[in-house]
């Protein structure tokens, strides 16, 4: 087990800047998730840590060792690949044992570790099979097992769940998390799925276009997004954004747009507001209008679509051409496209962002 440090790491592929001055400290035993859309640099960061790419600038440490010039095999890491990368001609047992064999581990020690890993993962009865005779979920376990038997300092996982179906993914998610906390190995986990990030990570690092946008525990990143990108990326359905005029009044702030006026108490500590702000609202903080429940509004709009999820319903409402909101409603809420609806927002839950830099200003 070890800490991991990315120290001002930059990676260029020709003209493309894949990772830009990336600095991140991972605690010993921590489960950190790098999350972001395609091209955000998350996989590049992982591959640099694995030694599968060379650094353009900066430095990476595992524990106290600078690993910049070490071959992957000398970094004491184990990696789980998106496509599992199981050796097709080897049995499950041989797949699990391969890395240990390469390290000249004694035979009985290999056997002990393989059987132990197989037990943890519940694949003891598959050891004689070849990968092609396994289901996707079973292959995934073998890939995990191959990492576990190595007992490395760091686990690297590159979207290990993306080839599984939704149900299996949810199940495996909690299992990986459980195994990791049992074994206690530092884990760097890459995913584009913000649900995985939220549910698995001790901390999550949100990345975009090669830049680290925010690091923090899931709660903090969700509640206090650093900028518009993080706010929009984390959370499902995503946060709705709308540009509004902001007027500071006596003890309140008024947000105006297209005839709608939202007057909210001004919390202390909010900096000077620009004349225009980006207002972000999470779906769960926008509800159909009712008097006396403490919502601000109402805002009028036209229903664009209705998503019934059983437990709840989300209604897409266009209040103005570039002011669309997702409104949370009861499961039995009715609504049809083109209907007019009124909804309100929960005070204290409106995120304000600076329109130029898109940085968070605070909540009102």
């Amino acid at each position: 087990m070890a800490t991991v440090d990315f120290d001002h790491v930059t990676k260029r592929f020709g003209e493309v800047l894949a990772l830009d001055d990336f600095t991140l400290h991972v605690e010993d035993g921590e489960f950190i998730v790098l999350v972001g859309p395609s091209g955000s640099g998350k996989t590049t960061a992982l591959r640099l840590l694995a030694g599968l790419e060379s650094l353009t600038a900066g430095s990476i440490r595992i524990g106290d060792r600078v690993v910049d010039r070490l071959a992957p095999r000398d970094r004491d890491i184990a990696m789980v690949f998106q496509d599992y990368a199981l050796y097709p001609q080897m049995t499950v047992y041989e797949n699990l044992a391969f890395g240990l064999k390469m390290r000249k581990t004694p035979k009985d020690e290999i056997r002990r570790r393989v059987l132990r890993a197989a037990e943890i993962l519940g694949i003891g009865d598959l050891l004689d099979r070849k990968p092609r005779a396994l289901s996707g979920g079973q292959r995934q376990r073998v890939a995990l097992g191959r990492a576990i038997v190595r007992q490395p300092q760091v686990f690297l996982m590159d979207e290990p769940l993306s080839n599984l179906d939704a149900k299996l993914r949810a199940q495996t998610r909690s299992e990986i998390k459980r195994i990791q906390s049992e074994i206690g190995t530092t884990t760097v986990y890459v995913t584009h799925d913000q649900v995985e990030a939220m549910t698995m990570g001790d901390r999550i690092a949100v990345m975009n276009r090669g830049v680290l946008e925010q690091v923090g525990d899931p709660r903090t990143v969700y509640d206090e997004p650093a900028n518009v990108f993080v706010a929009g990326f984390i959370g499902s359905p995503a946060m709705s954004f709308s540009r509004m005029r902001a007027e500071r009044r006596d003890g309140t702030v008024a947000l105006l747009r297209d005839g709608a006026l939202l007057e909210l108490p001004l919390p202390g500590g909010l900096p000077r507001l620009p004349d225009e702000v980006i207002v972000g609202v999470r779906p769960e903080h926008a509800r159909l209008w009712r008097e006396g429940v403490g919502l601000v509004g109402p805002i009028e709009g036209v229903v664009e679509y209705v998503e019934m999820l059983g437990r709840e319903t989300f209604i897409g409402v266009a209040a103005a051409p570039e002011a669309r909101f997702i409104v949370h409603a009861d499961p039995d809420a009715r609504g049809a496209p083109d209907e007019h609806v009124r909804f309100g927002l929960e005070p204290g839950r409106l995120y304000l962002f600076e329109p130029e830099t898109e940085r968070a200003l605070g909540r009102v």
Binding site: R73, Y87, M102, R146, R150
Partner: protein
């Protein structure tokens, strides 16, 4: 009403026979195959059957032949010339198949691992022998091997004059000399086949091996070689067939000589049919050769597929 309709519908389903994909043509497909089949029949099947028939006769190509049953085939075991030609073929398999596959593997593995400038150029250069007509290759190499040819000149120049000899006239060296030309002609094909195969192996497998601690050799053994199973089968089948059916190199370079030192079955077919008027025997050798090619191909394919489990 339903009671009446249902059996009729069922009947209709039953009568359609084996399931066809929607929109797939029916027997009309045979019509499209017919022209090609007719040509194949006229120029391959009929001559083949004719050859089978001939192989049961002793015939000089002019006078009426005599039926001799399987005697022409029995010669396979008794005629030393036929046996030695097959022996030569075994040697040629080493040169036409094993050597090119080994060289092709090494080149493919290193060319796909090492990043160097002008890779395409090197690949092309190495592939060129494959696309040159065999007769041209044979004429060129016969010149290279000639007593006063470039090879001997080179050997003398570097002080190995005592090694120089008439390569194609030497009883010991003629066969390996012809064989090496085969190696030169086949390895590029194997290499291209293997490079294509390696490109198909997921990069993550190589990366997994590297993270697992495999060096270049183990990586080759654990990832590249198993990943090339199908390409190896194809290369083995095609090169062994080439070795078994070698004719043009031998015909142009040595005409089976010196003596019969480079005589191979296909050359025996030619020389018996057209030079020594033993048409029946030639046919029998040809048919035997065909059966051996079938058997070997089948054997190799089965062998390579078996390990897949």
């Amino acid at each position: 009403m339903d009671d009446v309709v249902a059996p009729v519908a069922l009947e209709a389903v039953r009568r359609r026979g084996p399931e066809r994909l929607p929109g797939e043509p029916r027997a009309v497909g045979y019509l499209f195959v017919a022209p090609a089949f007719l040509i194949y029949a006229a120029f391959t099947l009929v001559p083949l059957l004719h050859a089978v028939n001939l192989s049961f006769f002793e015939w000089d190509g002019l006078t009426p032949g005599t039926f001799v049953g399987l005697r022409n085939y029995a010669a396979f075991f008794t005629d030393p010339l036929i046996r030695s030609s097959y022996g030569h073929t075994l040697v040629l398999i080493v040169f036409f198949s094993f050597l090119p596959i080994t060289i092709g593997l090494l080149l493919a593995a290193s060319l796909s691992r090492i990043r160097i400038r002008g890779l395409t150029f090197f690949r092309t250069i190495l592939f060129v022998p494959v696309i040159i007509t065999n007769v041209v290759v044979a004429v060129t190499w016969a010149w290279i091997y000639a007593p006063d040819g470039p090879l001997n000149a080179f050997l003398r120049a570097i002080g190995l004059g005592h090694v120089a000899r008439a390569w194609l006239g030497d009883f010991t060296w003629a066969l390996p000399s012809v064989g090496l030309v085969g190696t030169w002609g086949e390895f590029g094909f194997c290499m291209i086949l293997f490079i294509a195969g390696i490109m198909k192996i997921p990069a993550s497998l190589y990366e997994a091996a590297r993270v697992d601690g495999a060096g270049p050799v183990r990586e080759f053994l654990a990832v590249t070689l198993p990943g090339l199973r199908h390409e190896l089968t194809v290369a083995l089948v095609l090169t062994v067939i080439d070795a078994l059916s070698t004719f043009d190199l031998v015909y142009v370079m040595t005409s089976g000589g010196p003596g019969t030192a480079t005589s191979v079955p296909a050359f025996q077919v030619y020389s018996r049919a057209f030079l020594t008027n033993q048409v029946g025997s030639a046919a029998a050798i040809g048919i035997t050769l065909m059966l051996i090619v079938f058997a070997v191909t089948f054997g190799i394919t089965r062998l390579m597929e078996r390990g897949e489990g």
